[in-house]
Every structure is written in C-alpha cells, then in structure tokens.
C-alpha cells in the first residue's frame, strides 16, 4: 500500500469516528439545503396559490356610495370587509394587504358621466401584497371596460372604437424554465454541500493535527510531505464527494414534495440531472479541498481555522448573487470561471436545457487547472518548517 493511500485511509477512518465531522459532512451539509428548500417552497407556493385563487377579502370604505360596483366586484370573487378607521396605517402595519376606498362624491361623478375615482391603498414594498392588489385592480379594470362599452353602445358606437390597440401576450417560457427561475438558489446549495462536506476534515487534518501536535511525529516518517498532503486532500475530497452525492439524491427525492405542478411548472431532478450536476461539480471538490487546506495551514489553531473557513464560505455565494442581481445572459465564457460555471450550468440543467459537452469540458478543465495551481501553493506552504511546530 503506498504512503498516499495509507494516509488517505487513516484520515477517512479516523474522521468517520468523529461525530461532529460525520454529522456536518454527511448529514447537515447535504440535507440542510433540500429540507430548507422543500419547506420554503411549499410555504411560498401555498401562500401564493391561496392569494391567487381564494376569495379576495378587502376592507371597503364607502361601499354605500357605489352599490353597483360592489355587486359587480362580488361577482368576481371580492368579499368586502368592514371599513377601517385608518386604512393607511393598517396597510403600513401589514394588518391588511390592500384597502379599497370609494369617495362620497362617487355617485355624483358617475351619474354625470365623469370619471369617478376609487382609491386602492397599498404598500408596494410589501412583496406578498402584490397578488391581492393586482387582483383587485384587474377586477376594477374589467368593470371599467364593461361600463365603458355599455356607455359607447348607448350612444350608438361600437366599443371597438375605444380600443385601437390590442396587446396579445405570447409567453415563451416552458413549465421547466419557469421552475428554473424558482430553483435559482439550488446551485448554491450544491456548492455549499461540497464546502461543508470537506470543511471539518480540512481543519482537522492540518490545523487540528498541528494543535494536537501529531504533525511533528508524522513528518518524521520517511515520506515526502507532498505525498502526505495528497493523501489528506484525497480524504477531504472523499467526504466532499459523499456530501455532494447525498445532496443530489436528497434533492432528487425532495423534488417529489414540491407542489410545482400547481404553478404550471415542471422540473426533472432525475438520474440524468444528478449525473450531469455531479460531473459539473467535480472540479469544485478538488478546488475546495486545496483551498480549505491552504487556509487551514495558515491558521494557528483549530478555532482560528474554523473562523477563516466560516468567512470563506461566503465566497461561493458570489456567483449566485451576481446572477440574481445582474440579469446577465449565460455565455460560454462563463464555463471557464470556476463557481460561475457551476452556477450557470446547473441553472441551465434545471431549466431543462442541454449543457453542451464542450461547456462541461471547459468547466472541468478550468476547475482542475485552478485547483492544481492552488495545490502547488498549498504544497509549498506544507514544506515550511513553521507548519509542523505547534509550540
């Protein structure tokens, strides 16, 4: 058995006996994403469905001034609620999503054939209030059109005279691409699973081993340090890979618990997706193993390494956030940038699009090249005298 394999096997076996490492690498890391995802998505989707389809309860002030309007709205599903003393405050305090106010002179303006005003009171900064507000405005607009048409007919004109332009919407999104938008955060969970999967190992195998003073006797063995490092990196990668595979399988199962079809969406988290996603993420396993080891090698203690690596965890969020804030069109060059490649690639897979073999190849090559460069840097740090000395 070669020295590298000896180190690898010892580290894997030793860390499988550590409850914290096993928990974070094989339970917390891979499962936090899917569980959070299913819970969040179910809450959001059900909330939206309820607001989009259920009876729309809206407090109405001055209903007595426009009984015909209220009757027409009731037919469309509005359930008028008793008026509020201070509707602006109620909306700001989120006691209600939207309030309809009919002024006292509504009837007068209406009977004179002038535009009669109604007020819709809402807070645009409340995201989840937009659905009831849009529904109320749609109801009002429909009533407006109907009444306008009736007035034109009464004057002997065709209602089409008042609609010189008709806008027809042709949505090109597919059920899968709509799901892809919703699943935009999923690539980040994959990256996180890899990161967390290897993190405690990376800390333990370098900073931890130095703190426990076992690095010095280890380096007294007739084995080149880069071989020892390789074995350790391999052990970290093995845990990361296990975490990633568990995560992918968990997501695949979690897909069955999402009420996506209710929204007219579909996604395929089947075996094909899992295989492609894991392939795309492979370079990140290498990249994070060396990066985490490099950072841990600079830390003086276990706790210090933990702090550094906790901060570094923010790094993989960057591409996800960038892609969300800047609506950049996915381009082929993005596959040459590690992290960005995985973000774009997994997003495309989720949208049901085919990721070209060339792009996957580019992601693999660029990822492994960057990992190799970092690996050389890490090996260089590993050669330093300082590394082995704990006290």
């Amino acid at each position: 058995m070669s020295a590298m394999l000896t180190v690898w096997w010892k580290e894997v076996r030793e860390n499988l006996r550590d409850k914290r490492t096993v928990f974070s690498a094989l339970i917390y890391g891979p499962l936090i994403g899917p569980v959070m995802f299913v819970v969040l998505m179910n809450v959001i989707i059900n909330q939206q469905m309820q607001k989009a389809e259920g009876p729309l309860k809206v407090p109405v002030i001055g209903a007595q001034y426009a009984p015909n309007l209220i009757d027409a709205l009731k037919q469309q599903g509005l359930v008028p609620q008793p008026p509020l003393a201070n509707p602006e405050k109620a909306v700001r305090d989120r006691d209600t999503d939207v309030v309809l106010r009919i002024p006292a002179d509504f009837g007068k303006a209406w009977s004179h054939g002038q535009p009669a005003q109604v007020e819709v009171i809402y807070d645009a900064s409340q995201q989840d209030a937009s659905t009831p507000r849009n529904r109320l405005e749609d109801m009002l607009r429909l009533y407006d059109k109907q009444q306008g048409a009736l007035r034109l007919l009464a004057r002997g004109l065709a209602p089409s005279v008042a609609t010189p332009l008709v806008v027809s919407q042709r949505d090109q999104s597919t059920p899968q691409s709509r799901a892809g938008m919703l699943l935009g955060i999923l690539p980040y969970f994959f990256v996180l699973a890899i990161y967390i999967g290897g993190m405690y190992l990376a800390i333990d195998l370098t900073a931890g081993e130095r703190e426990r003073q076992s690095l010095e006797p280890l380096f007294a063995n007739p084995v080149a340090r880069w071989r020892i490092l390789s074995g350790k990196l391999g052990a970290i990668a093995a845990f990361s890979l296990a975490s990633l595979v568990l995560e992918a399988v968990a997501f695949s199962i979690a897909g069955h618990f999402l009420p996506a079809e209710k929204l007219g969406m579909a996604f395929d988290l089947g075996a094909g997706f899992i295989a492609d996603a894991i392939l795309l993420e492979l370079p990140l396993i290498a990249l994070f193993a060396v990066l985490e080891t490099l950072v841990a090698a600079f830390a003086k203690s276990y706790r210090e390494a933990q702090t550094y690596l906790g901060l570094l965890m923010l790094l993989p969020i960057l591409p996800s956030v960038l892609m969300m804030v800047l609506p950049v069109k996915p381009a082929h060059w993005m596959y040459a940038v590690p992290l960005l490649a995985q973000q774009v690639g997994i997003s495309n897979l989720l949208r049901g699009e085919v990721v070209r073999v060339g792009d996957i190849g580019l992601a693999l090559v660029s990822g492994f090249v960057v990992s190799a460069l970092l690996g050389v840097a890490t090996a260089w740090v590993y050669r330093s005298e300082r590394l082995a000395i704990s006290a």
């Binding site: 000896t6 006996r17 426990r212 076992s214 006797p217 280890l218 007294a220 063995n221 005298e385 006290a391």
Partner: protein, 244 residues
C-alpha cells in the same frame, strides 16, 4: 551513528543553536543534557530533518541529512517532544499507521509490533483508543510507533517527562536493551540523575552551545567536583532550569 557538525539555527534575533558539534555512537546511550531553552529540542529537530540548519551538517550512518532527508528519516526512530497520538485510533492502529508509512509488509509489521508490545509491556492497552491514556501509556505507544521499523538510530526527546517512578524504571530498562542490541540511542533530558544513570556519554548544552562532551567519570574529573550535580552547575554557569 549520528554525527553533528557545527550546527547553527536562529529564530529572528534568538540564536537557538549556536555551533553544536557531537557524535552519538552505535551501542552507546548518549545523553543531551541542558536546562530548559538550551536548544536541545531544536538540535534534535534538525537531526530528524523537521528543520533545516542555517549552517552545519548532520550525518546519520554517513548520510547527509541535507542531501537525502528521506533516507535519514528511514534510519531514525524518533520520539519527538510532542507525542501527538491520534486519539480516535487505538494504540495498535497508531503503530500500524506509522509502520505502513515506512512501507512495512504485513508479516514484518506484525512481528515487529509483537516484539515492541512485549518489550514495553503494553499488551493490555493495545486495542484501546488512545484518548484518555495516562502519560505512561501515551509514551509507550509513541515509542512503539517510532521504533516499529526497527531503526538503527533512536532519538528520544525528554522520554521520561511526566512519567511516574515505575514507568521511568521500565523505560530505562527498555533503553538499555536498545543499547544492548547495538543501536545508537540519543536522548535529551534536563534531569541529571537520569543522564548519569543511563549514559555512556554526556553532551551538555547551554545557551545553544556544547559546554562539555565526556563520559560521566571524565566530567567529574574535568570539573573537579565529586558530585555530578555540582559538576553540571559548574559547567552551565547557573542553577537556573536544572531539575534536582
């Protein structure tokens, strides 16, 4: 056979080792004696190639440590100041790990391990995880781990540190057996009785320099003190850091 020629090592402003020269011969126990902070551990670390000397040369069985550090480490069995056992592994797994790193085949490994386990009387703790081991049990395991590849040269940094009387006596017997087997045994200590009891040759280090390199009898003659303790104090120049 370990030969050390004019070793120098500085850390920033501090001259930790400032021209150390001595030899440790096969079939002898050589003691490296000096107060805390005299440069013993740094000297030993340069011997087992954990550190590179600023200048000077280390030869182990004639092999230059700077030219072929891996060959040198192959010929050394090292118990560093930091014992550093893997606490989630059993004593047996700790020993086997280092044996494998030395490339020992399974048959040889088993035979060597059995010899050491008997010699160190540690059969009862062999399959326990080292977490919670006493200091003595830890040292035994670390020594077995360090010597499993049957090295000709043995370096022990403060081997009796923290051991009780029985464990210390056992370790002395073990070291005498190593000498009887013809090995070169080099150990460091700041406890003079121990050095006086065991050593064929004593190298006294103070402030990074060798102040004496003699047999115990010659040391007494050189300093003109009948008592070894007084001889040491005279050599080192102060009583600071020497355990009585």
């Amino acid at each position: 056979m370990i030969e050390v020629k004019d070793l120098h090592k500085t850390f920033g402003e501090v001259k930790a080792v400032d021209g150390v020269t001595f030899s440790a011969r096969d079939g002898e126990i050589t003691g490296l004696l000096g107060p805390n902070g005299a440069g013993k551990t740094t000297t030993l670390r340069m011997l087992y190639t954990l550190m590179k000397p600023d200048s000077g040369q280390v030869l182990v069985d004639g092999i230059d440590a700077a030219a072929d550090p891996i060959a040198v480490r192959r010929r050394l069995g090292v118990l560093p100041d930091a014992r550093g056992l893997y606490k989630r592994l059993t004593a047996r797994e700790n020993i086997d790990y280092f044996a494998r790193l030395h490339g020992l085949a399974t048959g040889v490994l088993r035979q060597r391990r059995d010899q050491l386990v008997d010699a160190l009387e540690m059969r009862d703790i062999l399959d326990r995880r080292t977490e919670g081991f006493s200091q003595g049990q830890r040292v035994k395991t670390a020594i077995a781990r360090a010597l499993v590849h049957d090295p000709r040269n043995v370096i022990l940094d403060e081997p009796t540190n923290g051991l009780d009387v029985m464990a210390t006596r056992g370790l002395r017997t073990f070291m005498r057996n190593l000498r009887a087997e013809g090995r070169c045994v080099l150990f460091s200590s700041h406890i003079m009785q121990e050095v006086a009891l065991l050593c064929d040759r004593i190298v006294v280090i103070a402030a990074g320099r060798v102040v004496a390199d003699e047999t115990p009898d010659a040391l007494r003659a050189q300093t003109g003190e009948a008592n070894l303790e007084d001889a040491f104090v005279k050599l080192i120049g102060s009583e600071e850091g020497l355990a009585a």
